[in-house]
Amino acid sequence: MADNRILIVEDSPTMRQLLVFALNRLKNVDIVEAADGMDGLRKVTSDHFDLALIDINMPVMDGLKLIRLIRGDESLKQMPICVITTEGATDDRQRALTLGANEYLTKPIQANRVLSIAKGLLKVE
């Protein structure tokens, strides 16, 4: 059984592959992918995850709405969330953090930055 389970909610297959590559460097981790907010919501409510990486701009349901729904669910309130987006402005960052995201990653992403944020949120070395 994996030590940590991570959910990636991102519509771009390129980004998902890059995130999986970065996160696979963590020891004994199980990574689950979701292609949009609705798929992400379905997965996050039906299984346990220790961390969720969520893109903001997605079809069907955007990342901000997904975060709001996650934080509204009592059983998911404590799950760390890292937001991934192209938006670099401080107020966008603030909006995601106010909604309950714990960290914020802007594109273009670097594998080592993803890894260091994931380690911090999962509290692993």
Binding site: S12, P13, T14, M15, Q17, L18, F21, A22, T86, E87, G88, A89, T106, K107, P108, I109, Q110, A111, N112
Partner: protein, 271 residues
Amino acid sequence: MSVKNYERGEAVLSIFKRGAEFTKDLLQENEQLRVRLLNIEQRQTDAARDPEEWEKLRNELLGKIESLEVENRDIRERLQAVEEENGQFAGRYVEIEEENNNLANLYVASYQLHSTLDPSEVLKVIIEIVINLIGAEVFCVYVVDERSGILEPVASEGAPVSQFPRIEIGSGALGLAVQDGEVAVAEPAAGARAPEEGPLVSIPLRVQERPVGAIAIHSLLQQKDGFTALDYELFTLLAGHAATSIFAARLHSQSKRKLNTIQGFIDLLTK
């Protein structure tokens, strides 16, 4: 019961024996140390009486101090060398880590570009790479129109595709980049440029010597203030791999269309 008591007794006896041996060793060592101390005291007393002996002892001690200083210096030098080596390893580790990350980006880009033969999917992948891996905000993908030989804007991000002009090969920064087959980066390599101003980066897409299309980047995301070595690697990768992907997808769709036409004729003749 008696066997158990006997074994316990044996164990206690063995502990006592070991304790006795240990005490004996300690006493012996104590005796040796006492003898050595007496010897040193004796030498010091003798030396205090005899100036020649005093000088000999002094020289002996000075020699020892000198050899200890040499040893100390040697250890310090070795420590410094180890620290330097450690620093070099740490630097190399950072370099390898960066190289690894860069290779991951290049691998993902190349993998995604060759993951489909659908022309619209190929364009989608190119757009994803330019946004997510390069960090461009406004850009346009052009494809060479086979009949007119003109670069036609086919997909864009940050501005409607209609805002991007058709470009003749050999004209303007993008047209020249396609003609020469060289990636062109305007100076300074940051800031924003309107579609009519000419691109910040012109990436020609060519299969061997044949121009297939181009990518024109007009502005970068707010948080991106310039290009890294990885970006230049990605420009080169796109120039080759995006071109072959577009070319292959185009051939695939053409052959599919021809196959359908031929099938239609066969069906017409045989039915």
